[in-house]
C-alpha cells in the first residue's frame, strides 16, 4: 500500500517526537503531515536549492557587477537606483575616511569655491548697486535711520528690504476654537482645507506654548521651515496667521498687528460664531487681508518685480570716475612738483659758487634750500624764480665758503684787481689770463696781487703796458667828455631837484674828478661848464632864467662837493636844445702840447 504524496521517511527527530506519542497516532501525524505539507516540503526543498544557487551567484556577483554596470551604460535607472546608496556611502565616507574624501575633492574644491564666491560677489554687487542707488533717495535715508536706530549695519537693512518675499495665505482664526473666520490666498495656489490647517496650527500653537512657553502666556510667534515661514499674530479674540515664502520685512509684522487691531474693532460685540456669516465683515476682511494688499501696504515694492528690474549703473560709474579723476589730478600735480624740484635741484647743483647740501620740499608749500654759497657767486634768486614753485615759500640757508669755480674766481679776480677798462680777464681751470693794455702801475700791481686771488693757481699776464699814457688819458678824457653830458640831473620844477637826482650828481662828481685827474696825464686842459636846460614850455625869458638857475645850482653843488674848475669856477651855460628839465656838466678839453 502506498500513500498518495511523497514517500518521505520520517527523520530521526520526527521519530523521536513521535516516539513520545502512542504508536497509532504517530502514523497519523506522519501521514497527515506528509499529505498536508507534502507540497510545502517539496517547495521548501526547491527553494533551498534555489537559495543555494542564488548564494552561489551572489558570490560571483563582484565579478559580474562591473559587466552589468557597463552593460547598463548611461541608463538613467541605474543612476537613480544608485543615487540613494551613493549619497549614504558618501556620508559614511566623510564620517569615517574624512581625509580620503578631502584629498579626492581637493582639486575640485578650489574652482567650486571660486565659482561660488564669484557668484556671491556678483549678487552682492548687484545688491550693493541697489543699495547705493537707493542711497540717493528718501527711502535710502529712511533705511539709514533704521540702521542707526537698530544698531544694524546699513547694508544689512538694505539687503533685508530688497530681498524678495511673497505671501501665500492669510488666515483669521478664532482664538480658542481654532475655527477659521476668514481665509485669503494668493491666486495661483491650489485650494486647501483651511479649517484643518487652522485647527492644526492652533493646536500646535497650544502645544508649543504649553511645552516651552512655561505657561506664562507666551505663544507661537513664527515658525520657519526652509524658505517657508508662518507668522502668527495673537489677539484677544482672534489670531492672524500669515504663510509666506522668503524674507519678509519687519514692517509687515507691525502691519499685521495693525490689521488685527482693526479687525477686533470691527468685531465689536459680535460673537465669534456669527462672524463668518456677517456679510459686511466678510467683504471688509476680504479687502484688507488679501496677500497682495498686505504686501503693498507693507510699503515695499513687490519683491519679485523689484528684483527683475536691472539696477542702473551710472551713479556708481560717476563716482568712480570722479574718484579716478581726483586721484589722477593729485598724482599729476605731485608729478609736476617733483619735476620742478628735480629741475631746481639740477640747476642749483650746476650753479657755480654754490654747493647744494640739502633740498627739503613740502609739495607746494615750502622749499628749503641748504648749501654753501660763495659771496662772489651769482645770486640764486634768478634760479629760484625760474623754478616756478608757485606759492611755495622758499628759504635759502647758505653757509659761506670759497669756491674755486672758474666763473666765481673770475669775478673775484675782477673785483680784487680792479681791472681797468682795457684789460680782459678770464679764468680757465684756475688759470687767470689777463689780456689787454693797462698802465704800468697797474700791471705791476696786478702781477703782485693776481696770484693771491683765492682759487687762482697760475696767472698768465698778457697785458701790454699802455704805450702812450697820454693817449690813453686823452682817450679816457674824451670818453668822459662824451659821458658827462649824458649825466643829466633831473629837476622837477625850476631848481627843485627831482627824485634820483642825488645819485646823478654823485656820478657827475666822480666823473669830473676823474677827468681832472686825467687832465694832467693827458696833457690837456679842461674846463667845466654847468649847463642848465628845460623843456620848452614857457617864454624864452622865463626859460632862460630857469636854465641859468639850474646851471648855477649845479655849479654850486659841485663846488660844494669840492669840485672846482681847476682853479677856475665852473662856467655856466645853457642848453635850449635839450628838451629836458635837467642840468649837466660839460667838459671841454683843450689839447695841450
Amino acid at each position: 500500500m502506498t500513500t498518495s504524496g511523497n514517500g518521505a521517511d520520517a527523520n530521526a527527530a520526527d521519530a523521536a517526537a513521535d516516539a513520545a506519542l502512542p504508536p497509532p497516532e504517530q502514523h497519523e501525524f506522519d501521514r497527515l503531515r506528509n499529505l498536508l505539507f507534502g507540497d510545502e516540503l517539496r517547495a521548501a526543498e526547491a527553494a533551498r536549492a534555489r537559495l543555494t544557487e542564488i548564494e552561489r551567484q551572489q558570490r560571483a556577483l563582484p565579478d559580474r557587477l562591473p559587466h552589468a554596470l557597463e552593460a547598463a551604460g548611461a541608463a538613467p535607472r541605474v543612476a537613480h537606483a544608485l543615487a540613494g546608496p551613493v549619497a549614504h556611502a558618501l556620508g559614511a565616507a566623510v564620517r569615517e575616511n574624512r581625509q580620503v574624501v578631502v584629498d579626492t575633492l581637493f582639486p575640485v574644491i578650489g574652482p567650486l569655491i571660486r565659482k561660488s564666491i564669484a557668484e556671491a560677489l556678483r549678487n552682492l554687487v548687484a545688491d550693493l548697486n541697489g543699495a547705493i542707488e537707493s542711497s540717493f533717495t528718501l527711502r535710502g535715508l529712511k533705511w539709514r535711520l533704521e540702521a542707526w536706530r537698530g544698531g544694524v549695519p546699513y547694508a544689512q537693512v538694505v539687503l533685508k528690504h530688497r530681498l524678495a518675499y511673497r505671501i501665500d495665505h492669510v488666515f483669521l482664526i478664532a482664538r480658542d476654537s481654532g475655527l477659521v473666520l476668514r481665509h485669503e490666498s494668493a491666486p495661483d495656489l491650489p485650494a486647501l482645507d483651511a479649517d484643518a490647517i487652522a485647527g492644526m496650527l492652533t493646536a500646535i500653537g497650544d502645544f508649543v506654548g504649553d511645552s516651552v512657553g512655561q505657561g506664562g502666556g507666551s505663544a507661537l510667534d513664527s515658525a520657519q521651515v526652509g524658505e517657508y515661514l508662518v507668522w502668527v499674530v495673537q489677539g484677544p479674540r482672534a489670531n492672524l496667521a500669515c504663510f509666506m515664502r522668503g524674507v519678509p520685512p519687519g514692517g509687515l509684522r507691525s502691519l499685521l498687528e495693525q490689521r488685527l487691531e482693526e479687525i477686533h474693532a470691527q468685531l465689536g460685540d459680535l460673537r465669534l460664531e456669527q462672524a463668518p456669516n456677517d456679510a459686511a465683515l466678510a467683504t471688509a476682511w476680504h479687502e484688507t487681508l488679501q496677500p497682495m494688499a498686505l504686501v503693498r501696504a507693507a510699503g515695499i515694492d513687490d519683491g519679485v518685480a523689484a528684483a527683475q528690474r536691472p539696477p542702473s549703473r551710472w551713479p556708481l560709474l560717476l563716482l568712480l570716475l570722479l574718484a579716478l579723476a581726483g586721484l589722477v589730478a593729485f598724482f599729476a600735480q605731485r608729478e609736476r612738483w617733483d619735476d620742478r624740484i628735480d629741475a631746481l635741484r639740477a640747476r642749483l647743483q650746476a650753479q657755480p659758487g654754490f654747493v647744494l647740501t640739502g633740498l627739503d620740499a613740502e609739495p607746494w608749500r615750502k622749499v628749503t634750500v641748504r648749501g654753501l654759497l660763495d659771496p662772489d657767486a651769482d645770486s640764486l634768486h634768478g634760479i629760484l624764480e625760474r623754478a616756478e614753485l608757485g606759492d611755495a615759500k622758499v628759504d635759502v640757508v647758505g653757509t659761506g665758503y670759497l669756491s674755486t669755480d672758474d666763473a666765481v674766481v673770475a669775478r673775484r679776480a675782477r673785483r680784487l684787481l680792479a681791472l681797468p677798462a682795457g684789460v680782459d680777464s678770464s679764468v680757465h681751470d684756475g688759470v687767470l689770463e689777463l689780456k689787454g693794455k693797462a698802465p704800468d702801475a697797474w700791471i705791476a700791481l696786478a702781477r703782485e696781487r693776481a696770484g693771491w686771488v683765492a682759487g687762482v693757481r697760475r696767472v698768465e699776464m698778457a697785458v701790454l703796458p699802455d704805450a702812450d699814457p697820454v693817449a690813453t688819458a686823452q682817450a679816457e678824457l674824451a670818453t668822459l667828455a662824451h659821458r658827462l653830458p649824458t649825466l643829466q640831473v633831473p629837476f622837477a620844477n625850476d631848481a627843485l631837484l627831482a627824485a634820483g637826482g642825488g645819485s646823478v650828481v654823485d656820478d657827475i662828481v666822480d666823473a669830473a674828478k676823474r677827468a681832472q685827474a686825467l687832465a694832467a696825464a693827458a696833457h690837456a686842459r679842461i674846463a667845466f661848464t654847468s649847463v642848465g636846460s628845460n623843456d620848452e614850455v614857457g617864454t624864452d625869458e622865463a626859460n632862460q632864467r630857469v636854465r641859468a638857475m639850474r646851471a648855477r645850482w649845479l655849479a654850486d653843488t659841485l663846488a660844494a662837493r669840492g669840485l672846482d674848475g681847476g682853479g677856475q669856477p665852473i662856467a655856466l651855460g645853457e642848453d635850449a636844445a635839450n628838451n629836458r628839465r635837467a642840468a649837466y656838466l660839460r667838459l671841454d678839453i683843450e689839447a695841450a702840447k
Binding site: D176, M200, F207
Partner: protein, 166 residues
Amino acid sequence: MSAPAFKVCMLGDFGVGKTSLVARFVRSTFAPKYLTTVGVKVDSKEMLSPQGAPIKFVVWDIAGRSALDALGANYLRGASALLLVADGTREHSLSVALNLLMQSRTALPDAVVALAVNKLDLVERWEVAPTTLAEIRRSLPVFETSALSGDGVEAAFAELATRLLP
C-alpha cells in the same frame, strides 16, 4: 463658508480606535503622525444634518489619554461638542471615557456630548454588558460603532449635528 463650523473634540483612552473611527468619516488633511507628536490631529468634515442643514465639523482627534492634562485642556478650548470614545472589549475604557467627560465639563460646561462605544465588529468579545449602555443611554446619546464597517459613526455625528444646530 456658508456652512456653520463647529469644533468637535474626540476624547478617549489609548487604543480605543478613535482615529480609525474617524478616518473614514473625515477628509483627511494631515498624516496620523501628528497624533503622536503634537498630540492632536485636526481634520474637517462637511455634511448635512438629519434636518437637511449643512454643517461643518472641525474634528480635533486628541491622542489617547486616561486623564486630562494641561495640554489636553488647552486643546478643548472653544469646542462646541465632545465625542467620547470607548472600547467595548475593555470595560476600563468606558470608565475612562466617563472620567474624561467629567474632567472636560469644568472647561466646557455647555458642550454637546455623545459617547461612541467602538469595536462593534468584535461584539463577541465585549466586556461591556448591554444593560450598562442602556443605563448610560438615559443621560447621554450612546452609539455602538465599528470602525471596520463604519456603522454608527455617521449616526453619532448626525446626533451631534442635530443638537448643535438651532
